[in-house]
């Protein structure tokens, strides 16, 4: 390795720093070329549309476009906060997502740990396929299945009636709506979510397990002392990302499962935005104001979770 003293003095000056960067980039040009599509995608589809957020402060006129529409200051936000349904939607979104985070977040981790413990590789693959498959079904299909299973004359109620029990009103119960959302989401996404943890597990140095086995550690001890601590950084990152999405709930899922009876439990922010954008008279400025509000809260939650993770000695998202 080249000693620090051997590094030319001018390479430490600001003027040449840039040159060094460019030389480094040129040296690794193939790697950087691979980055280009991702960067272009990010700029085109993530950063450029952010300009549209200015609509939240404008009275949008399609003929004038986003940039030409007149500014109206905070007027759209005044209308947003005047609507009690909006405040309700914010609390409902938070309530559903916090519950989801507490109950649902551990499932992919547990599934990954359990799958990792399987010793027959063929069986492991079959199980992984079985658990991952629901991810590829759309929520329209899943909600169709749910309705067929849980409706008044569905599978479960038919079985209950057969045994002389009273049918349960699953689809029309506000109390059962959130559990139904969580259970169906776990069923659909746990297998897919487990993939990232399985990848993290596969990166653990096998020597650790061998040493533990020599020292007489049981499988359970290996799991808690080796596997879990090793995948903790991944768990932390996934948790921070989940916290950053607390104000967004799966629109497809909730929209397809809700009905007039469960409206009060189900009108989360995404459903509210859909309703005011497409079901009432068009007001893209109004819905942009709601979306912007949601994004700011999401961003704030993400940053708080990141700080909290670092404060507790873990790895954050931003280093």
């Amino acid at each position: 390795m080249k000693p620090a003293a051997a590094v030319p003095q001018n390479s430490r000056t600001g003027g040449n720093k840039l040159g060094t960067y460019f030389r480094q980039i040129w040296k690794h040009r193939m790697t950087y070329t691979l980055l280009i599509p991702g960067l272009v995608w990010l700029v085109l589809f993530a950063y450029m549309p952010m300009g549209g957020l200015s609509l939240a402060f404008k009275d949008f006129k399609a003929n004038l476009g986003i940039w030409g529409s007149p500014w109206v200051g905070w007027e759209n936000f005044e209308y947003v906060f005047r609507d009690p349904a909006f405040i309700d939607a914010v609390w409902k979104t938070l309530a559903i997502n916090v519950t989801k985070l507490i109950i649902q977040f551990p499932f992919p981790i547990m599934l990954a740990l359990l799958l990792n413990e399987l010793r027959m590789s063929r069986y492991k693959k079959v199980m992984q396929t079985v658990f991952t498959f629901p991810h590829f079904l759309s929520w329209i299909v899943v909600s169709g299945i749910v309705i067929n299973v849980l409706s008044h004359d569905g599978l479960i109620n038919s079985a209950l009636t057969l045994f002389g029990a009273q049918p349960i009103n699953f689809m029309g119960s506000e109390k059962l709506f959130v559990p139904m959302v969580i259970v169906t989401d776990i069923w659909k996404s746990a297998g897919w979510g487990a993939i990232i943890y399985l990848a993290a597990i596969s990166g653990i140095d096998m020597d650790q397990y061998e040493s533990a086995q020599i020292d007489g550690a049981t499988r359970l001890q290996q799991l808690f002392r080796i596997t879990l601590p090793n995948i903790l950084p991944t768990i932390t990152v996934m948790f921070i990302l989940s916290v950053g999405g607390l104000m967004s709930s799966g629109f497809d899922q909730i929209f397809n499962l809700m009905n007039a009876a469960t409206k009060n439990a189900a009108e989360v922010l995404d459903v509210y935005i859909y309703r005011i954008t497409f079901q009432s008279a068009t007001d893209f400025s109004f819905s942009s104001a709601v979306s912007l509000f949601r994004s700011i809260i999401n961003m704030a939650l993400l940053l708080i979770a990141d700080r909290a993770a670092k404060w507790m000695g873990g790895d954050g998202l931003f280093r």
């Binding site: 399609a62 209308y79 009690p84 029309g172 409206k263 497409f278 008279a281």
Partner: protein, 545 residues
């Protein structure tokens, strides 16, 4: 060696990714060459010879958005559609719009400049004014009424067209007339609010057949069905097969004329505007709605039903005692066809139709503005395409056009008898819709008008439909409570009014399904809405000063 290096897998992958990304970017950009749904590029004007017998030398490709589904992809090749295409020397770029996504799809198309050349649009006044102000709709030439007199005559019947002209200084929207030459009654009330009940079951349980029933009487009939099950359908029986929208029409509106979105804001006896859902009448209606549900007269999960599901229980499954049909003879004919095909029943023998009264015996419904939905044109439509569509619409409203649209070809599908009465030549059990599916060419005048005289619909159904219209007119003027069509409210547009448009069918259903005391829940609901409702009331009241 160098060539191999250059063509390494990594380089090929990078290159492919870049090409794919460029292709995606190009596809997303608004290219001139991308006709998309708009289809209004001049380049799409096919200039083949075509049929020039009507003076149309140039074949035009015209994009159209409509809610009529094309039954099969090749349906446009059938004799009926070809006749229209040949006559007007055009080729359709047809865009089917799903009923459920109709409003949002049109909103997106209009706002993004992707509106097809001509589109059927479910008129929303606030949106219309916005679109017109922004130049998003085509302005018809000032002399259009002289050039297309049939369209102009039908347009005049709508009322809305001329009111809009006063507001906007031109014609941008062509509201579709419901009735033109066959208006069944005066005043005209909305066709909604006609139910069908099983006549054979009513006889079996000793329930009297009448032309009008109160909601309470219908519930009594439903109780009898539940008790005696005359159809022997067991636990599949749905005594009253209403979905949430049917319930709004036939239970809530029957008891409270201002409970619907169309009539929620109305002028009270003191001359001040009020909000109908906060009335005691609405509360009473809700109590009856809740009673019907709690007694098991409605399906336990009626609130999950999609459109048509309620009607299917009656006409396809044969397990329902009462359904909402609506007042058009064509709807009654549809029930007849479905029952014959699915249950092997002659509906004339087993179905009785009636109108629904409030429990105080008063009749309530909405005064019918003589229009429903509208025709709009893309602001980018070429002059010759616009004129071609107008020619087609003008012809479709003529007597010849109406006969063709509703009866098919003379001599083949229908004829005049010795009394100059129309006689259908279609074989028994065949309908025009089956023979020539998806007849969307009747772009302007709605089918309701011809359905009054259409011999393809059984005479008894037509006569019964007219009788219901006449009964509605009589009852609403003799002590009824018709919700008048208030042009001031309907043509008023503001942000507050747009924000106070609620989905009342869902709101009411949610209220009756909630736990606890209905009246307390209703009061809380009314209070929760007042922050949005009061600004509208204030605006409307200040408007009249």
């Amino acid at each position: 060696m160098k060539a191999t290096q250059w063509l390494s897998i990594r380089r090929i992958m990078v290159l492919s990714l870049c090409i794919v990304l460029m292709a995606v970017t190009a596809a997303c950009s608004k290219g001139e060459g991308n006709s998309g749904n708009g289809g209004n590029a001049q380049g799409s004007n096919a200039s083949s010879g075509g049929n020039a017998k009507d003076g149309y030398d140039k074949k035009l490709k015209i994009s159209l958005a409509s809610t009529i589904k094309l039954e099969k992809p090749d349906v446009l090749d059938n004799e009926f559609h070809k006749y229209w295409s040949d006559k007007f020397n055009l080729e359709w770029d047809y865009n089917y719009v799903e009923w459920d996504s109709w409003p949002e799809k049109l909103r997106l198309w209009i706002n993004s400049g992707d509106l097809p050349d001509v589109a059927s649009w479910n008129y929303v006044h606030g949106d219309a004014i916005n679109y017109i102000e922004q130049g998003l709709l085509y302005k018809l030439p000032d002399d259009w009424k002289e050039r297309w007199p049939n369209v102009a005559a039908a347009y005049k019947q709508t009322g809305l067209g001329e009111k809009l002209e006063e507001l906007t200084g031109g014609t941008y929207v062509l509201p579709k007339p419901v009735y033109f030459e066959n208006k069944p009654a005066d005043p005209l009330l909305n066709q909604i609010g006609v139910i069908g009940l099983r006549k054979d079951w009513a006889k079996a349980v000793g329930f009297e057949l009448k032309d009008a029933y109160t909601v309470g009487e219908l519930m009594e009939y439903a109780r009898l069905l539940k008790e005696k099950d005359p159809g022997k359908v067991g636990n599949k029986l749905v005594p009253i097969s209403f979905d949430i929208n049917d319930s709004l029409t036939n239970i809530i509106m029957a008891n409270s004329a201002h409970s619907r979105v169309e009539s929620a804001f109305y002028k009270g006896a003191d001359g001040k505007y009020q909000w109908g859902p906060a009335n005691e009448e609405t509360l009473n209606a809700l109590k009856q709605y809740q009673a019907a549900y709690k007694e098991g007269l409605l399906s336990p999960e009626f609130y999950t039903w999609k459109s048509q599901e309620a009607s299917q229980k009656f006409s396809i499954n044969g397990v329902a005692g009462i359904t909402s049909i609506g007042g058009l003879a064509s709807y009654r004919q549809d029930i007849d066809t479905r029952m014959r095909e699915n249950l092997g029943l002659d509906s004339s023998e087993v179905v009785h139709t009636a109108i629904v009264l409030g429990d105080d015996g008063k009749y309530r419904n909405l005064e019918q503005a003589n229009f429903w939905s509208s025709i709009i044109f893309s602001p980018n439509i070429s002059k010759e395409k616009f004129e071609r569509v107008m020619d087609l619409m003008d012809y479709s409203i003529s007597q010849e056009g109406q006969l063709l649209l509703n009866m098919g070809f003379e001599g083949k599908d229908w004829k005049y008898d010795e009394n100059k009465e129309l006689v259908s030549l279609l074989p028994e059990g065949t309908t025009l819709e089956k023979k020539y599916p998806s007849r969307f060419e009747g772009l302007y005048l709605l089918g309701d008008d011809f359905s009054v005289v259409n011999p393809a619909i059984k005479k008894e159904f037509r006569e019964r439909a007219v009788k219901h219209y006449q009964d509605k007119a009589k009852l609403s003027t003799e002590g009824g409570a018709m919700a008048e069509y208030d042009w001031d409210v309907q043509l008023y547009d503001s942000k507050a009014k747009n924000q106070a448009g609620f989905d009342y069918a869902t709101e009411y259903t949610n209220l009756i399904l909630q736990e606890g005391d209905l009246e307390a829940n209703w009061k809380a609901w009314v209070n929760s809405k007042m922050s949005l409702v009061q600004p509208v009331l204030d605006e409307l009241n200040s408007l009249k000063k």
